[in-house]
């Protein structure tokens, strides 16, 4: 066990014998990991936003200002029974006026318009997009809503459905190729550093062999070196990402977005450290085998 720990620390110590090579490798791994981490951070926050909205789309329905109040309220009662509708919010002209007043942050007093609001009765429908035939569903819902009595206008952004579909498809398509590409870059960088270490220490390793060192005795510190470079590089990248996050976390927290950027969950960070460490070790092994 003593020998194990001695070789483990020797593997790390050996890396510092060529500090420039170590610095360059760590810089390369850190930059690649930072890039990968930033990509994961963007994905993570996009997914959070989609989850927060539960993958919903919104329809906003405006009735004619002259429409009969009771008839409109009867229609509102039936809205929640429609296919895909998860939430219905309704606004009488006066309620709509209140909301408008709030959006001005009380800078403008609209109370004098109470009882003679020019705004139309409005309803906002949050709908869950079905898994299949999303565009067809959106078109049919839009037609149904437009056909309701006294409806003057229905606002709906078909891009929401398209974006949702595209985003899910994009994340499925791009996630693994990008991650595999970045891991491959890390593997090549670490592998080359270990090869360089093998070349510069060729005589020393030859002497070790001559004095009776086993293959494991010679190779284990080099594997530890690969592991250390992978873990250290990803830790530095996470640190850098944390620093960048500190500056950008409130970048989108402004009207009308109100989006707070979240950092990667600790499980993601640990996976990144473990994965990069494993890749570093594996590439060292390949370099040693070659």
């Amino acid at each position: 066990m003593m020998v194990f720990f001695r070789l483990f620390f020797q593997g790390i110590r050996d890396l510092f014998r060529v500090p420039w090579s170590l610095c360059m490798t760590l810089a390369a791994i850190t930059l690649v990991c930072f890039l990968g981490g930033a990509f994961l951070l963007v994905l993570h926050n996009f997914n959070l936003q989609i989850e927060a909205r539960h993958g919903n789309v919104q329809f906003q329905i405006f009735w004619n200002t002259q429409a009969d109040k009771e008839e409109v309220q009867k229609t509102w009662a039936g809205l929640s029974a429609m296919e895909g509708v998860v939430n219905v919010r309704t606004f009488t002209p006066d309620q709509a006026l209140d909301v408008l007043g709030e959006s001005f942050q009380k800078n403008i007093d609209l109370d004098w318009m109470k009882g003679r609001s020019p705004l139309p009765p409005t309803a906002i429908l949050d709908c869950q997009v079905p898994d299949a035939e999303q565009t067809k569903w959106a078109q049919s819902t839009l037609s149904t809503l437009k056909a309701l009595p006294h409806v003057e206008k229905v606002s709906f952004n078909p891009l929401q459905v398209d974006l949702l579909t595209s985003w899910v498809g994009f994340t499925k398509m791009a996630f693994w190729p990008v991650i595999v590409f970045l891991l491959l870059v890390v593997a090549l960088v670490v592998g080359n550093t270990i090869k360089l270490a093998l070349l510069t220490r060729r005589e020393e390793l030859e002497i070790l062999r001559f004095v009776g060192a086993s293959r494991a005795y010679i190779q284990f510190p080099l594997l530890v070196g690969g592991l250390f470079q992978g873990v250290m590089g990803s830790a530095l990248a996470l640190g850098l990402l944390g620093l960048a996050f500190h500056f950008i976390k409130d970048l989108l927290n402004i009207p009308p977005l109100w989006i707070t950027i979240s950092f990667l969950p600790s499980m993601h960070c640990l996976t990144m450290l473990g994965l990069l460490g494993a890749v570093g070790m594996l590439s060292s092994l390949v370099a040693l085998r070659n």
Binding site: M2, V3, E203, E204, E206, I207, L208, R209, F210, V211, G212, A213, S214, R215, Y217
Partner: protein, 226 residues
């Protein structure tokens, strides 16, 4: 200890060793003589597993060199120590670190390493240079470090390629005394040399001569043929 039959070795088209038959008993002291380029170093490198056997059959310290895989060669090297002509020491490490290296790779306890290394350094008059970097030593001192590293593990067989080549007469004789001491404790020793004076210092040693890759002479000092 060593059993060789019909060993041949070539570098490309150049034949370095030709059809060699040789055997060495445990505890024997053998001088391998011959001019430069005769094949002495090649012969020693084969015995130490640094060169693979191309033709013939070679057994060293109980290991069949024809079948010994790279993964298991360290077992052979723990029984057979070698002192190479070019020393093969770590120049950026101190004398003590170089000499303790074979003990460290064997996982020997620290206190035993300290004791054995200090004893060997003392016997080779290197104790005052223990903390000196090897690159700061003279050729003769570096050679003594190489010898110290080879003998510190008390090997079954010690191979030494021109171990006195860089030493003055007195140190060469002192070195031979050390080899003689180890020989008395049962270590088999093979020394490649062309120094006539050290041959005479070991009257009971066996002498083998290599010339142009051919082992054509074998005799004991004082003219006794085995």
């Amino acid at each position: 200890m060593i059993s060789i039959s019909r060993l041949s070795f070539s570098f490309g088209k150049q034949l370095a060793l030709k059809d060699i038959n040789f055997s060495m008993r445990q505890g024997e002291f053998v001088f391998l003589c011959g001019p430069s380029g005769a094949g002495k170093t090649t012969f020693m490198r084969i015995l130490h597993g640094a060169l693979a056997v191309q033709r013939g059959k070679v057994d060293v310290a109980g290991y069949n060199m024809n079948t010994l895989s790279e993964n298991r060669k360290h077992f052979l090297r723990r029984d057979v120590s070698v002192v190479y002509q070019d020393f093969k020491i770590l120049p950026d490490q101190n004398v003590f670190a170089n000499v303790e290296l074979p003990l460290k790779v064997r996982g020997v306890a620290r206190h035993i390493i300290d004791k054995r290394v200090r004893a060997v350094l003392r016997s080779l008059q290197l104790d005052k240079k223990a903390q000196t970097l090897c690159e700061e030593l003279s050729g003769g001192e570096q050679q003594r470090v190489a010898v110290a590293r080879a003998v510190v593990v008390k090997p079954k067989l010690l191979l030494a390629d021109e171990p006195t080549g860089n030493l003055d007469r007195d140190l060469a004789m002192r070195m031979m005394d050390i080899f003689q001491q180890f020989h008395k404790f049962g270590t088999s020793i093979m020394i490649a040399t062309h120094n006539q004076e050290i041959l005479e210092r070991m009257p009971c040693a066996r002498i083998v001569t290599l010339e142009n890759g051919v082992m054509h002479e074998e005799r004991l000092m004082h003219g006794v043929t085995p």
